[in-house]
């Protein structure tokens, strides 16, 4: 018997407390590190290891339970709702930084140059984008001359757009393979998606390197640098996470998990990957292009 009709309710769970302790140690360590304490880095690594241990253990447990057929359709619906609303919360998180970009570009930077404020406080400041603010007029940060080169849209950023869009296609191709029961197509599509994902991250790392070493563009480059690195940085982090999730899905596909009618893990990973894709399109338009 491998079909449960009742809703599956585990009677105890040890992974949540392990994960919480790991995250707690990691964040307390990070805070200590920021305050210059020497125990910070050690705590961070320890907490991270515990957290990774939790992720590995919890997800292994979930996938085994799924393979044993302990989840009925109703449980599957709960998982789908969970993933859907988690992605919505991520959308809200990104919209904060998009909002900050919109507000500064369209409202607060022009206000800095306008009227009495501009005249009295920092004469000569022009409200153009990209800007690192009026600090250099006052002899402040980041560089004495305030020079930096903005990141262009049609170089690496455009290449990365193509890469990420292609990965969306390969991901869907893999899904079609899964639905049609074509194992080869599923695995090849996933391999392509993961490779493209990590390729994207690699190019972005190269872009950051260029920005810091050649272009004078850093987190300290005023509001342009702040919004540029925070938006692309958080996105890049999400691409990494998405690629790791897809790697585990690839591993499970290779082990023969998933059926055409039951493959929540694949769906969740694919939703997440498409979400990351859409965020990038927003980034390409609002951060690089306009």
């Amino acid at each position: 018997m491998s079909t449960h009709n009742a809703y599956y309710i585990p009677h105890k769970a040890t992974w949540p407390i392990i994960g919480t302790v790991g995250l707690f140690i990691m964040l307390a360590g990070f805070a200590n590190f920021l305050n210059g304490s020497s125990i910070g880095p050690g705590m961070m690594i320890l907490g991270l290891l515990v957290f990774i241990f939790m992720l590995a253990g919890w997800f292994t447990l979930q996938s085994l339970e799924s393979e044993y057929g302990m989840y009925n359709t109703q449980v599957g619906i709960s998982y789908r709702m969970g993933m859907m609303w988690f992605i919505f919360s991520e959308v809200m998180f990104f919209s904060v930084f998009f909002g900050a970009l919109w507000y500064t570009r369209n409202l607060s930077v022009p206000w800095l140059a306008e009227g009495v404020t501009g005249e009295m406080l920092h004469k000569g400041f022009e409200a153009v984008w990209p800007t690192n603010g009026p600090a250099h007029l006052l002899g402040g940060k980041p560089t004495p001359d305030g020079e930096f080169e903005p990141m262009g849209a049609w170089g690496l950023a455009f290449l990365n757009t193509l890469i990420l869009l292609s990965s969306g296609v390969t991901c869907t191709w893999a899904h079609h393979g899964l639905l049609a029961g074509k194992r080869q197509q599923l695995i090849q599509g996933l391999i392509a998606t993961v490779v493209l994902g990590f390729l994207f991250v690699g190019f972005q790392a190269y872009e950051y390197h260029e920005a810091y070493t050649e272009m004078g563009l850093t987190l300290g480059t005023g509001i342009y640098g702040s919004t540029f690195f925070m938006l692309t940085g958080f996105h890049g982090f999400h691409v990494c996470v998405g690629a790791i999730i897809l790697s585990t899905v690839l591993f499970r596909s290779w082990r023969g998990h998933f059926k055409p009618e039951n493959h929540f893990a694949f769906e969740a990973a694919a939703w997440y990957w498409h979400f990351v894709d859409v965020v990038w399109l927003g980034l390409f338009v609002f951060v690089y292009l306009l």
Binding site: M1, S2, A6, Y7, I9, P10, H11, K12, A13, W15, P16, I17, G19, T20, V21, L23, F24, A28, L34, N35, W58, L64, E67, Y68, M70, Q74, I77, S78, Y79, M81, G82, W85, F86, F88, S89, M92, F93, V96, F97, G99, A100, Y103, S108, V109, L112, T131, N132, G133, P134, A135, K141, P142, L219, G220, G222, I223, G225, S226, F229, M230
Partner: protein, 540 residues
């Protein structure tokens, strides 16, 4: 290898489907049972209520007389900041999540929450977040003292506490989002087939809407404090005009979170009131569907009114006018609710047990808080009220004799169902009258202080404010001490209460209102493993 273990594990699970709770303390750490987790949330919230309350006592003791008496100004500011953070994130929100955990599965005829493991994690994330926050009290430079709103640039001057407070917000945010996702999945996916959406008790409806608010706003707060973190430690300029940023940007983001956040604390309050009042009026709730729509309208409006907290930052005139009118709109659905509660009581066969007393006080005193809110919505008038004790009086009226009173009411209302014991009605009534009178002595004079111009968040004040501050402090001490009665009643009821055997319905005909009263008292560890066939209907 797994394939071999599978059938065995499976049988093992089936075998234990009707088991009771685990033995020993470990049960409370690794439990996935909605009732256990609800209890954890409620007890944790009660503990934090007294921690935050102790901080309030420090504040009122310092303000008893003009001049500096007990604490230095920096510590005073830490107290106002921490009091708010502890009460909002440690007491009121977790208390409502605790009620949701206990009640929602029982009210909709579900076996448990939809995602039981995540339920456990969201509780422990809350504890971790509050631990990080509490640890800042003992740090160099003291706990955060820039107010619970954490406005830059002032908050960036916080000492070692800053990154801890920020990560605490992250953990609390993760906890809330996980809790909210769980509630949404439970309500949408776990209802008994007969429990259609428009048959759900109002408490379930208000929590469903609150959960959407939480998922939409907690990431926004997380983003705001992340920018504080990078501004302080990673050289960014989000809130620094020298780099082209703007401190007012923080205020916009914060209040985009902050305004729905205050509704997160009041919407479940409405839900509990709408659950309790009909039972003691012995009538169905008046205007059920209008209650649902009013709640949804309030939730929607909460996203488009945030800058009424910022009338003095120098917004363009169009902004001031828009936020003024939009804010006034909230009075309409709120008025619908107050009308409906009153109409529910109209010609009802009312009795006045403690939960009902607290609920009636809620209707009256929350309306007071609502009226002062309307006063402050008027932008030109708010120029006078802004940052004075008037606002302190306003939001305490909406939080203490509203949210906290309703939490007390919920405690008295459901404790017999949870424990199987009756609380001591005499002490309950004493607790109510002491609280209801002292809360007004505590907060009503603060209206006068604010109108006369006393600023909030100051440890010392001009002598003309002395009299009403002393009155307010006396009210505060009585209110604080009265709450010990509640602590006594909770412990006493858990240990057996009056010894009287409570029936399944506990309150006369309560089973006509909601499913939990059809279950035995105390409710068994597992309930509704098979969904109930019929559910109470709106009209009986």
């Amino acid at each position: 290898m797994s394939a071999v273990i599978a059938p065995h594990d499976h049988e093992h699970d089936d075998h234990h489907d009707d088991h009771g709770p685990m033995k020993g303390w470990i049960r409370w750490i690794i439990t996935t049972n909605h009732k256990d987790i609800g209890t954890l949330y409620l007890l944790f919230a009660l503990a934090m209520f007294f921690v935050g309350g102790a901080m309030a006592m420090v504040i009122r003791a310092e303000l008893f007389e003009p001049g500096l008496q007990f604490v230095n100004p920096q510590f005073f500011n830490s107290m106002t900041t921490m009091h708010a953070l502890v009460m909002v994130f440690g007491a009121v929100m977790p208390a409502f999540v605790g009620l949701a955990n206990w009640q929602i599965p029982m009210m909709i005829g579900a076996p448990d929450m939809a995602l039981p493991r995540m339920n456990n994690m969201s509780f422990w994330m809350l504890v971790a977040g509050v631990l990080l926050l509490a640890s800042t009290l003992f740090m160099e430079g003291g706990a955060p003292a820039a107010g619970w709103t954490l406005y830059p640039p002032l908050v960036l001057q916080t000492g070692a506490a800053l990154p801890f407070a920020i990560f605490s917000v992250h953990l609390l945010g993760i906890s809330s989002i996980m809790g909210a996702i769980n509630i949404i999945a439970t309500i949408f996916n776990m209802r008994a087939p007969a429990m259609t959406l428009m048959k759900m008790p109002l408490f379930v409806w208000t929590w469903l809407i609150t959960a959407f608010l939480l998922i939409a706003i907690m990431p926004v707060f997380a983003g705001a404090v992340t920018m504080l973190l990078t501004d302080r430690f990673f050289d960014t300029s989000f809130f620094d005009a020298a780099g082209g940023g703007d401190p007012v940007l923080y205020q916009h983001i914060f209040w985009f979170f902050g305004h729905p956040e205050v509704y997160v604390m009041i919407l479940p309050t409405f839900g509990v009131a709408s659950t309790i009042i009909p039972v003691f009026a012995r009538k169905p709730l008046f205007g059920y569907s209008s209650m649902v729509y009013a709640t949804a309208s309030i939730a929607f409006l909460s996203f488009i009114v945030w800058a009424h907290h910022m009338f003095l930052v120098g917004m363009p005139m169009a902004g001031e006018l828009y936020f003024m009118y939009a804010t006034m709109l909230i009075a309409i659905p709120t008025g619908v609710k107050v009308f409906n509660w009153t109409a529910t009581m109209w010609k009802g066969a009312m009795t006045f047990e403690t939960p009902m007393l607290f609920s009636i006080a809620f209707v009256v005193l929350f309306t007071m808080g609502g009226f002062t809110g309307l006063m402050m919505a008027v932008a030109p008038a708010d120029f006078q009220y802004h940052d004075t004790y008037f606002i302190v009086a306003h939001f305490h009226y909406t939080l203490v004799p509203a949210s906290v009173f309703i939490l007390m009411a919920a405690g008295y209302f459901w404790l017999p169902k949870w424990t199987g014991h009756m609380y001591n009605e005499k002490i309950g009534k004493l607790h109510f009258w002491l609280s209801a009178i002292s809360v007004n002595i505590l907060f009503f004079p603060q209206h006068f202080l604010g109108l006369a111009g006393m600023p909030r968040r100051i440890p010392d004040y001009a002598v003309q404010f002395a009299d009403w501050n002393m009155v307010s402090s006396i009210g505060g001490f009585i209110f604080g001490l009265s709450q010990l009665l509640f602590l006594y009643i909770v412990i006493d009821t858990i240990r057996g209460g009056t010894g009287e055997k409570v029936t399944d319905e506990v309150w006369e005909d309560a089973h006509k209102h909601s499913l939990e009263w059809t279950l035995p008292s105390p409710a068994p560890y597992h309930t509704f493993t098979t969904p109930p066939e019929t559910v109470p209907s709106e009209h009986f």
